[in-house]
C-alpha cells in the first residue's frame, strides 16, 4: 500500500469510535440527501408524466400568435386607422390532411386531427361548460394516452351510437351521468345535439377530467356548424422533452399557433425550478453539516497526532506528504460515509416507497420516488468534496507546524 494511504488508513482504523461518528455523520447526510432527491425528483417526474400524458405533446390550432394584418393596413400608409372591421376568415386549418402528411414526413411521432368546440353539457338540470374534442379514434391512439385512460368503455365505443360521447370521470360525476345516459350538448354557434355517454376517462389532471369530452370529428363539426372543419392538430413526439423545439418548427413552417406541453404548463414548470433550488439547498446544507463532523475528526486527529507529524517531518517526510496523509484520511471518511450513505439512502427510499396512503390530490397511493444513479453520484461527489475541504484546512495547518516546537513541547 502507498505510504500516504497506509498511514492514513492506520490513523482512521486506530480511532475506530471517532471515525465511526464521522462516517455516520457523512452517511446520514448522504442517505438523507439521496432520499430527498428521490422524493423531490419522483414527485416532479410523476407530475410531469401526468401533464405529458393528459394532453397531446403539441397542439397546433388554427389561431395565429400575431393577428394577420387587415387589407386596409397593407393598402394605405397611415399612422393609425380607426373603425376598421376585421376581415372574417373561414375557421380551421387549411388542407389539414396535406398539413398532417407534411408533418409525418419529418416528425418523430404521430399526428391526429381534431375539432375543438366550446359547449355546455346539460344533464339532469345541470349545465357544465366543457371543451369538446372531435377526434378520430384510430389516429387518436397515436397522439394521446386516452385509450389507456379509459375507465369505462373504449375509444371505439364512439362508433356504437349516432352521437356518442366520452366524458371525463369527474365531469360525469358532476352532472350525475352514467354510461348510457343521454345528455344534451349546446354550443355558442347555436347547435344542439343529444349524445349518448359511451365511455368515461380519467387523465389524472383535475382540469381535464372535469372539463373535457370527446366525440367523433363528424359530431364536433356539426356542433361547430362547419362541415370539414379541423381546427386543431394533435401531435405526439417520441421524446416529450423535444416537444418545444418541434413545436417551434411546426409554427415557423405553417404559421399556425403551435403550443407544446411545456408552453401550456409553463407556470407549473417554472415552479419546479424554485423547487429544485430549494431541494439542492437543503441537500447541500445536510452535507455541509456532515462535513463539520469530518472537519472535527480530522482536526482532532491532527491535534492528537501533532507529535507524530513532527516525528515524520524530522524523519524527512515533506509537508506535501504529511498534508496528503490527513487529506486522504478525510477522503476515506467521506468515501466510507458515502458508501454507507448509499445503503441508508436506498433503504430510506424503500421504506418511504412502501408507505400506503390515500390522497385527494393524487391518483397513486404510494409516494412516487425516482431511483437515479445521478442522485447517488452527486451525493458522493458532494460528500467527497466537503470531506476534502474539511480535511484540507486542518491537514495544511498540521503539515505547516514547526516540528521543533512540537518536539520541545513533547520533551
Amino acid at each position: 500500500m502507498n505510504l500516504v494511504l497506509d498511514v492514513a488508513w492506520t490513523h482512521v482504523r486506530s480511532r475506530a469510535r471517532q471515525t465511526f461518528v464521522a462516517v455516520a455523520g457523512v452517511a446520514t447526510g448522504v442517505g438523507f440527501s439521496i432520499m430527498m432527491a428521490a422524493l423531490m425528483q419522483g414527485s416532479q417526474d410523476d407530475f410531469i408524466r401526468q401533464l405529458v400524458n393528459a394532453l397531446p405533446h403539441i397542439t397546433v390550432s388554427d389561431e395565429r400568435r400575431v393577428p394577420p394584418e387587415q387589407p386596409a393596413e397593407t393598402a394605405f400608409e397611415a399612422a393609425h386607422m380607426y373603425g376598421l372591421t376585421p376581415e372574417t376568415r373561414r375557421r380551421g386549418i387549411k388542407n389539414p390532411l396535406a398539413t398532417m402528411a407534411s408533418f409525418e414526413a419529418w416528425l418523430p411521432g404521430g399526428v391526429a386531427p381534431s375539432v375543438r368546440v366550446q359547449g355546455i353539457i346539460r344533464y339532469a338540470s345541470r349545465d357544465v361548460g366543457t371543451s369538446i374534442f372531435g377526434i378520430d379514434p384510430t389516429r387518436e391512439l397515436k397522439v394521446s394516452d386516452l385509450a389507456k385512460q379509459m375507465r369505462q368503455g373504449t375509444l371505439r365505443s364512439l362508433y356504437t351510437a349516432t352521437n356518442a360521447i366520452i366524458l371525463g370521470d369527474r365531469l360525469a360525476e358532476k352532472i350525475g351521468a352514467k354510461i348510457g345516459a343521454n345528455i344534451t350538448i349546446q354550443t355558442s354557434e347555436g347547435a344542439r345535439i343529444t349524445a349518448q355517454v359511451v365511455g368515461l376517462f380519467h387523465a389524472g389532471v383535475r382540469s381535464v377530467d372535469e372539463g373535457t369530452a370527446y366525440v367523433l370529428v363528424r359530431a364536433a363539426q356539426i356542433l361547430a356548424q362547419q362541415t370539414g372543419l379541423v381546427n386543431e392538430l394533435r401531435v405526439r413526439v417520441a421524446d416529450p422533452m423535444s416537444a418545444r423545439e418541434i413545436s417551434s418548427r411546426i409554427e415557423s413552417e405553417t404559421g399556425y399557433k403551435s403550443v407544446s406541453w411545456q408552453e401550456a404548463h409553463e407556470d407549473l414548470l417554472s415552479t419546479f425550478v424554485i423547487r429544485n433550488v430549494i431541494m439542492y439547498t437543503i441537500v447541500g446544507a445536510i452535507l455541509l453539516v456532515a462535513s463539520f463532523g469530518t472537519y472535527n475528526i480530522i482536526s482532532t486527529i491532527t491535534h492528537e497526532k501533532a507529535r507524530d507529524i513532527a516525528i515524520m517531518k524530522s524523519l524527512g517526510l515533506n509537508e506535501r506528504t504529511v498534508r496528503a496523509m490527513f487529506v486522504v484520511e478525510a477522503l476515506i471518511i467521506g468515501f466510507a460515509g458515502g458508501l454507507i450513505g448509499f445503503m441508508l439512502g436506498y433503504l430510506l427510499c424503500l421504506a418511504l416507497g412502501s408507505i400506503e396512503f390515500k390522497s385527494p390530490f393524487m391518483d397513486t397511493n404510494r409516494i412516487p420516488l425516482a431511483y437515479s444513479a445521478w442522485h447517488y453520484s452527486i451525493a458522493m461527489l458532494v460528500a467527497l468534496a466537503s470531506s476534502l475541504a474539511a480535511g484540507f484546512m486542518p491537514a495544511r495547518k498540521a503539515a505547516r507546524a514547526n516540528p521543533v516546537d512540537i518536539i520541545r513541547g513533547a520533551t
Binding site: 515524520m312 524530522s314 517526510l317 520533551t411
Partner: protein
C-alpha cells in the same frame, strides 16, 4: 574531515533568535565543523542551547543568521522539500523519548523512512529493517508495537529507525536521558559501534558528563555559545 578535507557538517556563525515581544536568543555565533567518523558530545547546562544547536544542524530549524552546510552544501536557501530530502538521506535523528509511531510495529517504524525515500523494493526494505533490529538484539520484537516494548527496546528501535536510510550522520538528543543505567549503556554501546564499525558520525546531546567523557570529542555550550571544544583544545 573527509578525504577532500571538507567537513561532513559545518555551522558558520549560526545564530537562532526566537521572535516574540521579547526575542529569545537560543544560540549565537556558533562555528563548528564535524567531520566523518566522529563521536561528538554536546554538553552544557539546561537552556544552554544544546538541543537548539542539534535541531539547527539537523535542518529541522532554520538559523536567523549564519548557515549550516552539509557536505559543503549550504542549507540556508533550501526549500522545505529540499531540507526534508536532506534529512531523509543524510541524517538520522534519535530523541530522548523514542518518538516511535504508536500504531506501527517496530519493523514498520523502521520501514517508514525507507518508504519515504523509495530507493528499495518492499522486500528489500523489510529485509533491511529486520537486519537492523537483529543487529540491535531486537529480532524477536519486530512485530511488536512500541507500547509492547520496554524503554530500552524502544530507544534501540529508534536508533534502528535513524539508520534506516543509512545516513552518514546521526543526531541524538539525550538518547539515554530517559533510560536506566543498563539500557543507557546498551544504547551508548550501539552508538559507539556505529562510529567504530560503520564509520558513522554521531553527534549526541547529553547531560551525562560521564558518558560525554567516553566520547571522542566534547563541545560545551553555555548561554547559547560554545565555550569549549575538545577538538580545538588539543
Amino acid at each position: 574531515m573527509s578525504a577532500n578535507g571538507r567537513p561532513l557538517i559545518e555551522a558558520r556563525g549560526v545564530t537562532r533568535i526566537l521572535p516574540g515581544v521579547v526575542p529569545t536568543t537560543l544560540v549565537h555565533d556558533i562555528d563548528l565543523k564535524i567531520g566523518h567518523n566522529e563521536f561528538v558530545a554536546v554538553t552544557g547546562p539546561s537552556g544552554s542551547g544544546k538541543s537548539s544547536l542539534l535541531y539547527l544542524l539537523g535542518v529541522l530549524d532554520m538559523s536567523t543568521e549564519g548557515e549550516v552546510l552539509i557536505r559543503g552544501k549550504s542549507t540556508g536557501h533550501m526549500s522545505e522539500e529540499e531540507r526534508a530530502a536532506t534529512r531523509l538521506s543524510e541524517l538520522g535523528f534519535v530523541f530522548q523519548f523514542h518518538f516511535l509511531l504508536p500504531e506501527f510495529s517496530a519493523l514498520d517504524n523502521i520501514v517508514l523512512p525507507m518508504r519515504a525515500l523509495g530507493r528499495l523494493s518492499r522486500e528489500e526494505m523489510r529485509e533491511r529493517a529486520a537486519g537492523l533490529l537483529d543487529s540491535l538484539g531486537l529480532a524477536e520484537h519486530q512485530n511488536k508495537r512500541p507500547d509492547q516494548l520496554s524503554g530500552g527496546q524502544r530507544q534501540r528501535v529508534a536508533v534502528a529507525r535513524s539508520l534506516a536510510n543509512d545516513p552518514p550522520l546521526i543526531l541524538a538528543d539525550e538518547p539515554t536521558g530517559s533510560l536506566d543505567s543498563k539500557a543507557s549503556e546498551q544504547v551508548f554501546q550501539i552508538l559507539r559501534n556505529l562510529v567504530d564499525r560503520q564509520s558513522k558520525t554521531v553527534v549526541a546531546v547529553t547531560h551525562d558528563l560521564g558518558l560525554a567523557e567516553r566520547m571522542d570529542r566534547r563541545v560545551q555550550l553555555m548561554d547559547g555559545g560554545i565555550v569549549s571544544d575538545s577538538a580545538l583544545n588539543q
